[in-house]
């Protein structure tokens, strides 16, 4: 009743062009999503969703984006995400797609999901490795993020996970 509830949408940016990675910035992604909402839901949708809309977390290496919106307008936002077709940055346009991974009520639940998801992705990468060095480096990453028996406080830290997302 008293507080404003938010929904955090975790997405992944899929693109065939490898140069798109440099273009992934929070402002570019925010503008692209805002345009998509304006096209799909008009002035009313734009006004509703952009009250509390920000890009909370962005990882250009893995293409992970965390968006925030009000709980009441989460459906408007989620229905407009598949309509994002281009990302524009530095005068260049790259075709891309946004895939929704998880919708959570807090950043913490999204972080938990992201840790598990990245662990599964690492195992998939291990299977698809082509060269021996890649295999070695992926194996190191997998070992570093698993629980170690000897240490009493085993860190469940994922090495790709950033911790700058908790600040507001």
């Amino acid at each position: 009743m008293v507080r404003f509830k938010n929904r955090y949408v975790l997405c992944e940016v899929l693109s065939e062009d490898p140069r798109c990675r440099q273009c992934i910035e929070d402002r570019a992604v925010g503008l692209a999503v805002r345009d998509a909402i304006a096209r799909a839901h008009g002035d009313y949708g734009l006004g509703c969703c952009c009250v509390s809309f920000t890009v909370k977390y962005l990882n250009a290496y893995t293409g992970t984006v965390l968006l925030r919106c009000r709980k009441d307008f989460q459906r408007l936002l989620c229905s407009a995400l598949p309509l994002v077709r281009h990302l524009e940055g530095r005068g260049q346009r790259f075709p891309c797609a946004l895939r929704t991974l998880h919708v959570g009520g807090t950043i913490r639940t999204c972080q938990k999901f992201l840790i598990q998801y990245n662990r599964r992705q690492l195992l998939l990468l291990l299977q698809n490795c082509t060269s021996e060095e890649e295999r070695h480096s992926v194996r190191q990453s997998v070992l570093s993020c698993s629980l170690a028996e000897e240490q009493p406080q085993s860190g469940e830290e994922e090495e790709e996970e950033e911790d700058g997302a908790e600040t507001d």
Binding site: A40, G42, S79
Partner: protein, 127 residues
């Protein structure tokens, strides 16, 4: 303590709220600047454009029909799915221009039943 049950009613009246599939609106377009009067297709295009501006592609895809249109008095009867009544009415309210001239939509009557639009007690003249 048990209460005595009321006697069985002779008739039963059921009221269903929002059970109708469509909502009907009687609207009138006001063009004070003397612009060219729109025909029926132009009116439908104006309504869909208003929906697209306020509610986007999802709003423009709302099934709206112009059932009757009188070009002389610029009044029309529109039909819309019941769930889209709020979207249509708000879009009509905020539509201010037709071919770069000021215009306004006045909603005269609205009802889930088409027959109810036949009589309007506001225009009733008592002798």
């Amino acid at each position: 303590m048990e209460r005595a049950e009321p006697p069985a009613a002779a008739y039963e009246r059921r009221v269903l709220l929002s059970a109708a599939q469509h909502c009907y609106l009687r609207v009138r377009l006001e063009l004070p600047d003397g612009a060219a009067r729109p025909g029926a297709p132009q009116l439908k295009q104006l309504v869909v454009a208003a929906l697209r501006e306020l509610h986007g592609e999802v709003g423009a895809a709302l099934p709206v029909d112009v059932l009757a249109y009188e070009e002389k008095s610029l009044s029309a009867i529109l039909r819309v799915v019941s769930s889209g009544l709020v979207k249509l009415w708000s879009a009509l309210t905020l539509q201010g221009f037709y071919q770069n001239r000021r215009c306004a939509f006045r909603v005269l009557q609205t009802s889930p039943f088409l027959l109810a639009l036949a009589g309007n007690s506001r225009e009733l003249v008592l002798d």
